[in-house]
């Protein structure tokens, strides 16, 4: 049963990720991205990290996608012509593809990563949100503070960036009116 669920959610995740990259319309891409993130959240749940699955759905499939859709609708970018990628992009892609093939072969065919051990205990520590809270507020207290400060900085930065530039040209229309 668990195997069938894994294959189903893995297929959903990978197919949706592929459609995100291949969609002409950004709205379609954003909607496929919801499916990709929910599929990844289901994979987290299969790995018994239920808290992370909930956070993934809330933050990614909720907040991030809503932001994306809002910006897509705001900008109203409708035309996306088929563009041939440039020479540099194609060369970089080809090089990356070659490196990926070599890396995958090294990882799986030649056991470059060593044997993938399965040392699981019967219970998953990540299944309990209590373990997250305990670790976050004891060993990881400083990173939590830094992350909170980062969020504050990001919020202030976004407000400053998205502020319309101050119209110091407010005097110009008056001047134009006075000219004739």
């Amino acid at each position: 049963m668990s195997d069938i669920l894994f294959y189903a959610f893995a297929a959903i995740t990978v197919f949706s990720a592929f459609m995100v990259v291949c969609s002409r319309n950004p709205v379609n891409a954003a909607l496929f991205m919801i499916a990709a993130f929910v599929g990844a959240a289901a994979l987290f749940a299969l790995l018994e990290a239920f808290f992370l699955a909930a956070v993934q759905v809330l933050v990614y499939a909720g907040a991030v996608i809503v932001l994306f859709l809002f910006i897509i609708m705001l900008l109203d970018v409708e035309r996306t012509r088929a563009l041939r990628p440039g020479l540099v992009s194609l060369a970089a892609s080809a090089a990356a593809l070659g490196l990926l093939v070599v890396g995958v072969l090294w990882l799986f065919a030649w056991e470059g990563a060593g044997p993938l051990v399965d040392a699981r205990g019967s219970d998953a520590p990540a299944a309990l949100a209590r373990n997250f809270g305990y670790e976050l507020f004891t060993r990881y207290l400083l990173p939590v503070q830094v992350t909170g400060f980062l969020l504050l900085v990001a919020m202030i930065g976004v407000i400053h960036i998205s502020k319309r530039p101050a119209r110091d040209t407010a005097a110009e229309p008056k001047g134009e009116e006075a000219n004739p």
């Binding site: 990978v14 799986f108 219970d123």
Partner: protein, 106 residues
């Protein structure tokens, strides 16, 4: 659970690679940002899988899960800042296509 760690790693790698080529080959800035998110998501799947498959009662391996938690937080901040920059870019140049943003080329 007879699904091995390598199956999860293959899924994570595929998602990462798809996002990577999206970043390289797409010209729409919004899709490029989505590709970045897909790459982060692939890394998250690999981290959660590793920390699940190596968790023992003696060593619960919560580090990977907590790292994923921090990655999700930082990615949300990154998306907010990136989209604000894209909005300002669109106001300035009326386009979000990367091949039309070549102000410094001349």
């Amino acid at each position: 659970m007879s699904i091995g760690l390598d199956s999860y790693l293959v899924v994570a790698g595929l998602v990462f690679v798809i996002g990577f080529f999206g970043v390289l080959l797409r010209r729409n800035t919004l899709i490029v940002l989505m590709g970045l998110e897909l790459m982060l998501n692939g890394c998250n799947i690999a981290l959660v899988a590793f920390s699940r498959y190596h968790a023992t009662p003696a060593n619960p391996m919560m580090e990977g899960n907590l790292f994923v938690f921090f990655i999700i937080t930082v990615a949300a901040a990154e998306v907010a800042v990136g989209l604000a920059i894209i909005v300002q870019l669109f106001r300035l140049r009326q386009t979000v296509m990367l091949n039309e943003l070549q102000l410094l080329k001349d």
